[in-house]
Amino acid sequence: MNEQKIDQYRRDFFTKATATAATGVIAPGVMLMQVGQAQARPLDQAASNKNRWGLLIDSNKCADGCSDCVKACESENAWGSGSTDEQKSDAGQKAQWIRTVTLKNKLTSKEHQLPMMCQHCEQPPCVDVCPTGASFKRADGIVLVDKHICIGCRYCMMACPYKARSFIHEDLHDQSPDVPRGKGTVESCTLCVHKIDRGDGTTACAEACTHQAILFGDLNDPNSTISIEMKKHATTQIRADLNLNTGVRYRGI
């Protein structure tokens, strides 16, 4: 009984929250990030190829030395500083779903940084090489690892041109209920698939970026903010020569 009432209360709260978010400003100096851009899909309905989720990252806006996106990913998905696990693994062995990369122009010596994670390719090499079918692409373009059938061979880690995947070397105990992870399996950015499925319409990194450098949205929807931005500005795919059609695009590199 009580549980139901709480749920009802939460539902009302979030309905109100979303309605208000649409107006943008909720208090002087307080801006809510755009919520509900992605329509919540009913819980019992499968993800479909009507959507293709992606990110647009503006490396000009990405502030040097800032790692808010990495920290947000860690606490949302319970890896790195967001978990008490992986104490025995060294830096090269530890989980890494997202990292910041600094680029330097050799002519001008100008340095700038950008976040780097799974690029959610349309033609993912990690899926091509997986011997068990554990590495797969969901209908809505999210590339995931099915840890139930992953045998930990790490072919996908070698195949990935973006060095986006990592392997878990030790027993874990401090996982998030939404993000199962365990020893002997490969993992990478899930594009916060649990948040997408519950209709949050954003990812932890996009939510946490105070510089608005990360924009989440539906690449298949011509009216989504991400599509409009990509029509307005020149964007790049990293290693576009591989013809992977990545779901994560960059500006300013």
Binding site: M1, N2, E3, K5, I6, Y9, R10, F13, K16, A17, T20, I26, A27, V30, L32, M33, R41, L43, D44, Q45, A46, A47, D68, K71, A72, S75, E76, A78, G82, F136, R138, A139, D140, L144, D146, K147, H148, D171, L172, H173, Q175, S176, P177, D178, P180, R181, G182, K183, T185, V193, H194, I196, D197, R198, A204, E207, A208, T210
Partner: protein, 183 residues
């Protein structure tokens, strides 16, 4: 001439009259055993078989299916749901492992959750009794956790909550629910 084929101990015994007394004894013992088990079966209910389970009735009195079905088939349902969730993103609550744990994780005296795979806890007690290895929790969380938001996000949520006079903590939500329940 045909040698009698020896098919069992019984045949062997019947061929030898000296063993007749043994057979009578064995038949008598069988009768006693059958009678006893008939008498016992009336008093042995399914619920008293196996370990005593710690079930938190405060979370509700009913599982998603009757207990005998869950005992037999919980893994079938979980496995079906697992593929739906993993491959298609279908996250209905009925057979979700996360919901099992939300309901079946118990708290200790310090009001902290005990992992469901700890000795004597809901999942582990039966699995230890039947000596079936419990693999789920090599990857899945063993206790509920309030959805974690990054501090940057939760600060914004707090600001929002202040403006809209909404409850900020779970205990406040519980208080509201308790009041509503009292009415």
């Amino acid at each position: 001439m045909f040698a009698q084929p020896v098919t069992s101990k019984w045949v062997l015994a019947t061929t030898n009259p000296a063993n007749l007394g043994v057979i009578v004894k064995q038949i008598r013992n069988l009768f006693i055993f059958l009678t006893l088990s008939l008498v016992m079966s009336g008093s042995v209910m399914a619920d008293s078989v196996g370990p005593e389970l710690k079930i938190n009735r405060a979370n509700g009195d009913k599982c998603v299916l009757p207990a005998d079905e869950m005992r037999k088939d919980h893994m079938k349902h979980l496995q079906h749901q697992r593929d739906d969730t993993m491959r298609d993103g279908i996250r209905t609550e009925k057979f979700s492992l996360k919901e099992c744990i939300n309901c079946h994780a118990n708290k200790d005296e310090a009001d902290k959750y005990i992992p469901v795979n700890a000795p004597g806890e809901f999942c582990q007690s039966c699995h230890a009794y039947t000596s079936v290895k419990l693999d789920c929790f090599e990857c899945h969380a063993t206790k509920p956790r309030d959805t974690a938001f990054h501090p940057i996000v939760s600060d914004k949520m707090k600001a929002f909550a202040d403006v809209h006079d909404a409850p900020k903590t779970k205990s406040m939500l519980d208080t509201i629910a308790a009041k509503a329940g009292a009415k």
